[in-house]
């Protein structure tokens, strides 16, 4: 028999957790039981103490999904709490210019603001503030800036640039600078969603069902129930679908499975939801992620930068400093970028050229590369976040399950999308490379190691696929997250974001999710929820 719920929320990252928590608050205020709000999460039901400092393939399989698509590799998370378990907790408001951007791919409709009219930095600021409070965002002092971030600041300074400390969703008193955020903090110091929104939602009584992978949606005619959600049951031991399916009928459905999954779910449901916008599955973006590394000469670090040396790439918080000098004051859309010091994981060692010739010699593998890896501890890694266009498109026929083809119980998936950089996306990346190289190689302090061409785009910040817009001929959802043509069907989270952001996206995703959640609470009674 099909079970019934008031609200089904698919996914428990920022989009899902914030919807669950704010609805639970509203139910509590109305004296109603939030158990009729159900969160379905494909991964394990993690607790704060579920995480280890481990890159072992078994642990990676529990927490990561590494999606290899055509032209882009995407790093995503799985399990209760989504990306917040693995993220590096950089929590930044996006600059005002982001929301005013008009640049886009040449084939992407008429000249216009790419964000819906109702959303600007000013209208989002109250939601940013709410998100910062809930995620307990704090700015580290210079004493709490890691050496890798310090070297980057000193390099920027020596080149005449400013460099700012990055606000973090980390309990700075608890953090022991282990630099293992990327497999989940084992010290309970990171303010993941398990420590705030999800904890509160659960305490209030929201039903959380892990190991349920939402596959498709169809309409229900039993008003006030509107949708029937089909979810595959996932086996805890193997992480694979057991073959079992469950159905849940609901009044409101919130898709919050992230940019790599929301669009595939809707594409799979297209026959049952025939009025969906043509834009479903289009405009997948990378947030302009563009990585590089710098190999430092410890002697020059002493002599030129006046620091006691540098060999501690593996210590500290994984993100602490960034420069806005290539953003601020630039008038032309599509040319700006920020440059941030980052530590994604030791695995990114594969990504960089060793930076030496002669042409024709192997540069990202082989003997020279190996020797460059032997100087790994003298590196810093940089993330440029550039104003690119959203260059990805999901194939019209999605994978049989989930958001991508998963050949086994491991972390690697084959993405069913293509990613082809526009001229603008290439040009702004080249400009970021030139800026990083100039800062890094000034006075011979460092050697610039560019991202190898092999990998296409490497991205930890996928966005879009169900972008919000002012009308269905431009996007999939309205500015309140509701899918055009389908009352009570929402997307919330990274999938609705229409442009790259110039900063790490989670706080903007959270702010947009806060805005969507408050709209949903306001409309709740109309949609048949027990709210006044």
């Amino acid at each position: 028999m099909t079970r019934r719920a008031d609200v089904v929320i698919a996914g428990s990252g920022f989009g899902g957790a914030i919807a669950a928590r704010r609805l639970a608050d509203a139910y509590a205020r109305a004296g109603e039981d939030p158990a009729r709000i159900v969160v379905l999460e494909r991964g394990e039901g993690f607790a704060v103490d579920s995480f280890e400092q481990s890159m072992h393939i078994d642990h990676l399989s529990r927490v990561y999904r590494l999606i290899q698509g055509q032209g882009m590799q995407v790093v995503t998370a799985t399990g209760l709490g989504g990306g917040s378990n693995l993220y590096l907790a950089a929590s930044l408001r996006a600059p005002r210019e982001v929301f005013e951007r008009r640049d886009r791919r040449p084939d992407d409709g008429p000249d216009r603001r790419m964000w819906p009219k109702a959303i600007s930095r000013a209208t989002l600021d109250p939601y940013y503030a709410r998100a910062e409070r809930a995620l307990r965002v704090r700015r580290p002092s210079w004493d709490q800036v890691s050496r890798s971030g310090g070297v980057w600041a000193a390099l920027c300074d020596a080149a005449g640039h400013t460099c700012d400390r990055v606000p973090l969703a980390i309990d700075l008193d608890r953090c022991v600078d282990a630099k293992w955020c990327h497999t989940g903090c084992a010290f309970g110091a990171k303010n993941s969603l398990l420590t705030n929104h999800l904890a509160i939602a659960r305490r209030r009584g929201v039903t959380v069902e892990p190991l349920r992978e939402v596959q498709s949606v169809r309409q229900s005619s039993a008003r006030p129930y509107r949708y029937v959600v089909t979810a595959a049951v996932v086996d805890a031991a193997t992480g694979r679908p057991t073959g079992g399916l469950e159905e849940l009928e609901c009044k409101v459905l919130v898709l919050a499975t992230g940019a790599m999954n929301d669009a595939p779910i809707l594409l799979r449901s297209r026959a049952a939801l025939p009025s969906l916008s043509e834009h479903v599955g289009r405009h997948l973006g990378s947030n302009g992620d563009h990585l590089a590394a710098v190999e430092l000469d410890p002697g020059r670090v002493r002599d030129v930068l006046g620091l006691p040396g540098y060999a501690e790439f593996h210590e500290g918080k994984p993100i602490t400093t960034m420069t806005y000098d290539f953003w601020a004051g630039r008038r032309r859309d599509g040319t700006r970028f920020t440059l941030q010091e980052i530590f994604l994981s030791p695995l990114t060692g594969i990504l960089y050229d060793d930076g030496r010739g002669p042409p024709g010699d192997p540069s990202w593998w082989g003997l020279q590369k190996k020797r460059s890896l032997a100087r790994w501890s003298h590196r810093i890694e940089l993330l440029a976040m550039v104003e690119d266009t959203h260059d990805g498109t999901f194939l019209p026929v999605p994978a049989p399950h989930g958001g991508a083809v998963r050949p086994n119980g491991g972390p690697v998936e084959i993405g069913t999308f293509t990613y082809e950089l526009s001229d603008q996306s290439r040009a702004v990346r080249a400009a970021a490379d030139a800026a990083m190289r100039a800062i890094a190689e000034r006075s011979g302090v460092g050697r610039f190691l560019p991202m190898t061409e092999t990998e296409g785009v490497y991205c930890a910040h996928p966005l879009g696929g169900c972008r919000m817009a002012d009308s269905p001929d431009l996007g999939v959802t309205a500015d309140d997250g509701e899918v055009f043509g389908y009352e009570g069907l929402y997307c919330s989270g990274s999938s609705v974001v229409p442009t790259s952001l110039g900063v790490n996206p989670s706080l903007t995703i959270a702010a947009v999710a806060e805005r969507i959640a408050s709209g949903l609470v306001r409309r709740g009674a109309d949609l048949g929820l027990p709210l006044k």
Binding site: D143, C163, W365, P407, I414
Partner: protein, 204 residues
Amino acid sequence: MTRREVLRGGLLGAIAAALPAAAAWERTAPAQALALAPADATLQAFFDTVVPGRRVARTVSGAVVHPGAIAGADPDPGAVEADALALAQHPRIGFDALAPASLADLELRAAEQGGPFLALAFDARTRACVQGLDFGNPLRTVWEAAAAVAFTAFCGGAISRTQTRADAPGWAVMGLPGRAPHGYPDASYGRRLARERTRKGYLA
């Protein structure tokens, strides 16, 4: 479609075709090979070309290394010692599905250098791999996947049990201790190192 897209499309097809084999692999679960199959010896030689290392008879976990696999081009441990082959065979990686295609093309390139791959000297192996990883090779992405296995074993410590440099030779080479059960007490220079543009860390 760009050339790149065509190539990646090729990989997608190759992987899709190999999926049933991957599923079968998952069912049978690999037994630790007592002796190395010839294909495995060649794979080790490939991994040693991608991340070269010192000659050893056993990997860090004690698995057999084919005597001719490691060319000894670098004095420090390489991908073979870091158990790249075991990772390739791990059921959660599933590289076995791609191995036949990858090895067939490898031997084709090796023949142009005068050998079976395993019999070639390090420089000739490198030349064969330069060709295999060239954008003009329609099977390039299969080679990339194979190279990724070598790096995942070496840089990622993906089958290290202790998650320390004790059984992650790549981390020992890189200078990465691995687990940091107590964190690092002195991880900052402890002073302001640049002028800041903003008051709160983000732009208006």
